[in-house]
């Protein structure tokens, strides 16, 4: 018989110190993981028959500039068998590098391209890491909090703000 409620205790036990739990949000359970253990944990979450998180809803990048660690990746998982949800958080420094989860969920491909395009987060091993919304040759990462609302000055945007010399990061 299928379990009725999501239990994360076995996962926490299996990964001991490497995976944390975040109880601040009321809407769903949340695990904290470091980039090094991300792939291993994701595979486990997808393949364990008691968890079966086979559906990746969304990957959201967040910029906490000027705080450190600067970036946060939030994965929202769903299990089509058990119909439950889980949030996965992964804090990243600057420059932000994280392994790709495309081998685990194919759908991650475009989500990761979006995070790369908007925040300059690099996904190691991504099959096709290019900008997705902005054009090739665009400078900067528009969703970063230090990106000016009017954008940087270039051929397309003469009213923009002057660009900083060094980009840093990404």
């Amino acid at each position: 018989m299928a379990p009725v409620e999501l239990s994360l205790a076995p996962v926490l036990q299996l990964y001991e110190q490497r995976v944390g739990i975040d109880n601040t949000a009321a809407d769903m359970s949340c695990l904290m993981v470091s980039p090094d253990d991300l792939i291993e944990l994701c595979r486990h979450l997808r393949d364990d028959p008691l968890l079966k998180f086979d559906f990746l809803s969304d990957i959201c990048a967040v910029d906490f500039h000027p705080e450190a660690p600067r970036f946060l990746l939030v994965y929202h998982l769903f299990s089509t068998r058990h119909k439950w949800r889980l949030r996965l958080k992964c804090h990243l420094g600057d420059p932000a590098v994280v392994p790709t989860v495309t081998p685990v969920w194919t759908t991650a491909n475009w989500h990761e391209r979006e995070a790369f395009d908007m925040y300059g987060i690099r996904f190691d091993g991504h099959p096709d890491l290019r900008r997705i919304y902005m054009w090739d040759g665009f400078d900067g990462y528009p969703m970063r909090r230090d990106f000016p609302l009017r954008g940087y000055k270039d051929d397309y945007n003469p009213m923009g703000v002057d660009q900083p010399v060094d980009w840093g990061g990404g």
């Binding site: 949000a25 009321a26 809407d27 086979d54 949800r85």
Partner: protein, 405 residues
């Protein structure tokens, strides 16, 4: 607008074979907006499809961060512009979850009626547009005629046809106008017969069937891995509907069936939507019948504008609250929430992070069309010819406003 670049020429026994790169769109009627596809082809056979998106990118998520919570509603309208009430609803639920409030029951019914009406309007477009893309022009004229009835209802309820912005945090803007319920029921009666007309028109149409049957087949497993949701996923046999499995608003009080199909080809994705319109009609009828009398907006002057506008002229207190709310907005407690609703295109998710101010710290939209469109690149679907790409694209039903955000 098509350009062809020859990238490789091979002489074989049967003649000259050319590998070409072809540009489809962004100004092409079958791309449903501004989508550009780069096709690598060997003659007419497709080797690779590469969608180039972003031509309609308006930086919605960046704008969210400098708008107050009330101001964001019109921005959400412009995501999936065929069904604004659904977008409004998903966003309102996210903010309400963080505030810890719920809309009054009557408001929830109104929201659901509008969301289901907009689902019909969205599905009507693809019901007519997919056949048109593959050569059956007639159907679009009929579906557009019927879509006009939905638009009239929207106009009657909210005052505008398309970008309704009718939801508010804690309810809806206004009550249904007099006689609206009767008009909605009348529409349901007329439209129920029209759905059968479409089926008669297209289900036995050999040309239409030849173009969509067994084309672009996606297995359930692949569909889940690709992140497909909504009718696209259910057409592949996966029985998951957020309205039933994680009910929001008053969906748990409604009786409806979740439509699934087995084959996962273009025809099934089309048929799934046609059947879903029937279920939507069923839900709308139930809503109109069950809808209780009562408030349509929560009674909290710090969050909602006064429903009774006369109060503004007589009550100093109301006046002050109104000014504060219009000028500065309201604060949402620190926290985070992910709400998912079953939008016409699939799982529409809003991930809201609040830092306790009047504006969201981060508001991410999980746009179903964005994810669904990715299926076009997947080689596991059996798209073989150029013509199949058009059928596949039409059946995935992407709305570029949502893909490009």
């Amino acid at each position: 607008m098509t350009d062809v670049t020859v990238i490789n020429e091979v002489t074989t026994d049967t003649g000259l074979s050319r590998e070409v790169l072809m540009n489809l769109g962004p100004q092409h009627p079958s791309t449903h907006g501004v989508l550009r596809l780069l096709l690598q082809m060997d003659g007419e056979i497709i080797e690779r499809v590469e969608p180039h998106i972003g031509l309609l990118h308006r930086g919605t998520e960046k704008l969210f961060e400098s708008f107050t919570y009330t101001q964001i509603f019109p921005l959400t309208d412009r995501l999936d512009y065929l069904c604004p009430p659904s977008n409004n609803l998903g966003y309102a639920l996210a903010v309400e979850a963080l505030l810890g409030i719920k809309a009054p029951e009557r408001a929830q019914y109104i929201r659901v009626i509008m969301a289901e009406l907009s689902r019909i309007s969205g599905h009507l477009l693809i019901t007519g547009a997919l056949p048109m893309d593959v050569g059956a022009m007639t159907s679009l004229l009929y579906t557009m005629r019927d879509r006009e009835m939905v638009m009239d209802l929207m106009e009657m309820i909210s005052g505008v046809r398309m970008h309704t912005s009718f939801c508010r945090v804690g309810g809806v803007r206004e009550d249904l106008p007099e006689g609206c319920a009767a008009r909605i029921l009348e529409f349901c009666d007329i439209f129920a017969a029209r759905i059968s007309d479409y089926e008669t028109l297209l289900e036995n149409n050999r040309i239409f069937l030849a173009r969509v049957e067994n084309i672009g087949t996606i297995t359930g497993e692949d569909a889940i891995a690709l992140g497909l949701s909504g009718p696209n996923l259910r057409a592949s046999g996966v029985d998951w509907d957020i309205r039933r499995d994680e009910p929001y608003e008053i969906y748990d009080q409604l009786e409806f069936e979740v439509i699934t199909r087995d084959d996962g080809d273009c025809y099934d994705r089309w048929k799934c939507r046609v059947d879903e319109m029937r279920e939507s009609l069923r839900m709308i009828r139930q809503c109109v019948r069950q809808m209780p009398e009562g408030d349509i907006l929560i009674d909290d002057p710090k969050i909602a504008f006064p429903v009774d506008k006369d109060l503004l002229a007589h009550s100093m207190e109301t006046h002050i609250h109104h000014f504060e709310l219009a000028a500065y907005g309201f604060k949402v407690p620190k926290g985070e929430v992910y709400t998912a609703i079953e939008a016409p295109k699939g799982e529409l998710g809003y991930y809201l992070i609040s830092d306790g101010s009047e504006k969201p710290f981060r508001l991410k939209v999980r746009a179903p069309s964005f994810v669904n469109l990715q299926a076009l690149t997947e080689r596991t679907t059996n798209i073989k010819y150029l013509a199949d790409v058009i059928a596949m694209l039409g059946s995935l039903d992407p709305v570029m406003g949502e893909v490009d955000k």
